[in-house]
């Protein structure tokens, strides 16, 4: 049986995300909403795990707006279907979108019938095949094997292993909010799944886990120095303080303000 297509919703407004989730009967299109993000920053951090085929993204969001996210995502995930949503009918936005591989540009408030039409078209495109996005994941392990031989860092010549190399790279670049698995993989010329597996193999840790660890440990230090949350968030490469606060709480078990106290 065909797998269902994965949908991700990125909008800073919770009610909008929830409406989007509830208003459409996704299963009738053979789709499921696999996740949401409240900002472009969060989306970049979790997109590798969610592995969406379709992304709905709002334009006006703080920290990283929909345009910037679309630029990054269309570069890192060719084949990803990006649908822009905006409440602002401005020519300049439309012009920017035209220059990018945006599947559709929709004006808010959105009407269900229109959303369904677009979703239908998106499904038709995905069904036509050949455009599946390459994420790391258990299902393309064989694909990753092939890369083993091609990779310039592969082999057992005793030099620095790819895992260690990437580890070092994370430590040097974790302040970059755009950093994620796909980006690092592209940087070193690996496939994402190969890097993911190799990283775990070499360091014993998951890529995302390790990146979060580095960021949060730094955050703890900064919190100790009395930094405001939004300042720390920006320092460790998660400039969206809302997402940062969730990450922090998840990692340390306490909220930033409590930790700071």
């Amino acid at each position: 049986m065909k797998r269902s297509y994965r949908v991700m919703i990125i909008d800073d407004e919770e009610s909008a995300r929830r409406l989007m989730r509830a208003a459409i009967k996704w299963e009738t299109f053979g789709m499921e909403v696999v996740g949401e993000a409240t900002s472009g920053i969060e989306a970049i951090n979790i997109i590798d795990e969610l592995r969406p085929d379709i992304v709905f993204v709002d334009i006006s969001m703080p920290f990283m707006d929909g345009i910037e996210f679309t630029q990054i995502a269309s570069e890192r995930y060719p084949g990803l279907i990006i649908i822009i949503m905006t409440a602002i009918d401005e020519f300049e936005y439309a012009r920017k979108c035209v220059s990018m591989p945006v599947f559709e540009y929709m004006l808010k408030p959105m009407v269900r019938a229109e959303i369904m039409k677009v979703v239908e078209r998106a499904r038709a495109k995905l069904d036509a095949g050949g455009t599946a996005v390459k994420y790391s994941g258990p299902d393309d392990a064989t694909d990753a094997e092939a890369h083993d031989e091609d990779s310039p860092y592969a082999g057992s010549d005793g030099e620095t292993s790819p895992g260690e190399l990437v580890k070092k790279y994370i430590e040097d670049n974790y302040t970059d909010p755009k950093l994620n698995l796909a980006y690092v993989a592209q940087h070193f010329g690996f496939s994402a799944s190969y890097l993911s597996r190799k990283f775990k193999q070499d360091t014993g840790k998951n890529f995302v886990e390790y990146l979060t660890e580095v960021r949060m440990e730094t955050a703890k230090k900064l919190a100790g120095k009395g930094y405001k949350m939004f300042q720390t968030a920006s320092e460790v490469g998660i400039p969206d303080p809302n997402y940062f606060s969730r990450c922090f709480k998840k990692y340390t078990g306490v909220s930033y303000s409590d930790y700071n106290r």
């Binding site: 407004e13 919770e14 009610s15 703080p62 920290f63 405001k228 949350m229 939004f230 300042q231 968030a233 969206d240 303080p241 809302n242 940062f244 606060s245 303000s257």
Partner: protein, 595 residues
Amino acid sequence: MNRSNDRPKIKRTSISAALNLVFAVIILVVIISFVISVNFVIKSERRAYAVREAQMALTTLSNSLSSNISNYSELSRLIMIDDSLVTFLRADASTVDFGVINDARYGIMNILNVKEGVDCVLVFRNDMIMLATDRAAYSYESASMQTDLWKESIYEGKGRAVVGLNSYGVASRKDGLPVITIGRAIYDMYTQKRTGILLMNISSDVLSRILRQGSYHDVCLVGTNGEYLAGNKEYMKYYSADYAGNEILNRNVLTPGGNKLVSGCLVEGLPIVMLYVSAYGSESIPYGIIQVLIILMLVFMAVAGFAGAYVSRNITMPIMQLSGSMDKNKKSGELKKLDVEMPYSELNLLKGDYNDMIDHVNELIDTLVDKEKILRRAELRVLQEQIKPHFLYNSLETIGFLAFDAGADNVHEALETLGSFYRNFLSKGNRVITFGREVQIVRDYLSLQKLRYGDIIEDVYDIAPETEDFNVPKLILQPLVENSIYHGIRLKGEKGTIKIVSRLDDDILYVIVEDTGVGMSKEQIQKILSKDRNDRDEEKDSSFGLWGTIERIRMYCNDDDVVKISSEVGEYTSISFAIRSVPAVSGVEEDEEIV
């Protein structure tokens, strides 16, 4: 604006420059014609002078030659009456022998001893028996001697001396030297019959001596037959038969040594042509005339200069003045009429035209302003039609009821708030509303935003009751609050408070909008408060609402320092402003409910 920028690029000269050029050309022409005329005058004067000189010289020379030749004529008369010659002439042809001839010869030679210069004396009897004092020096033309042709002119003299050349052609000196011959017909004293002809040849040395004595270095004497006689032989090349007249003939000749005047005429009564050659001397330059000309020229130039200055002062300067006034008028930004006095009617005409134009322009502007006002009023009406959204309000009410009916009280409440927000937000298009309404807009806005973003925002109001009726420009509060949310609280990721405080003091409304967001750096505050539009562009998208609102408050109060921002990064931002009561603008009426 730069004056040179709005002029076409074509290079145009000014009147004064053009006049200067014209004057320069005139003066140049005058100088050139002066030089030409002076040159001409000098030349003609010098020629006239040379001609006079020549005339004098020639007349004197002519007299001197004539009198000398007369002396020889007298001598020939003496010879004619000499006894031994008379005997020779009277004697019968058969009795004329060598002795008779010799007696006569000696008789003549005795007389000739009195005077130098006579080369030879020839006497012919009617029967052509001849005697000669210096027979050996001559060769004789027997053929022409036998004809009567040469005798005719002598006979016509009837005994008077007739001067000719070279023995009238019957004899010539063997060495070829020219001689002047005085011929006489000899008549018997008693019978009064012609008994013979006497020819007295005078050597050309006589002529040379006369020239030498008179210091005639520039003279050449030529026989009427074109033969050189005496003087400067160089001048023979100027000779032509035209000079053989009684009147003096003057001719200009161009020689390598300059212009020369050749004058010539016959010596009175003699077959001799005098040629007198003179250069135009510098001593003949007419300084007087030149002086007069120079003075005239200077006077002319002075007049021209004066005319130039006059034109400049009376035409160019007033025009510049006029232009200056116009320019000043333009720069002042007001279209006033000019009141400069112009010295000439033409310039006054120009000024009048300009003033008429100003009138016309002002009229046009008034008309335009009127039209614009009418247009604005019409547009405003259309706008007001648009912002009476009955349909929206009615729909909101209907949906609100549906929600209420279905038990969704929160939806009903939200719709009510939205309706209230829009009613106050639009306020029938009025530009000025009460501060109380302004606060209500913010209350509704914030309660709707809280629905969107959850309870990250807490709003606190500290509104003095007396401030609620104070008139303020519409929408000065809501953009500040919106800025507090999007550029303050939301960026912090923590719950934040927005506080609005108002006080009335001495008829001035003081308002503070404060939030506990991320705050602003000094540079950000400076940029927001900057009046320079260039500072704005890069941030246009993010904080235009705040900046635009500050601008509107500034314009309403006509005071750039009316808005103040204080902030601490990471702690708070506080925007405060004070509005002085402005008399109600006409057209602002008490709002009615629109639904």
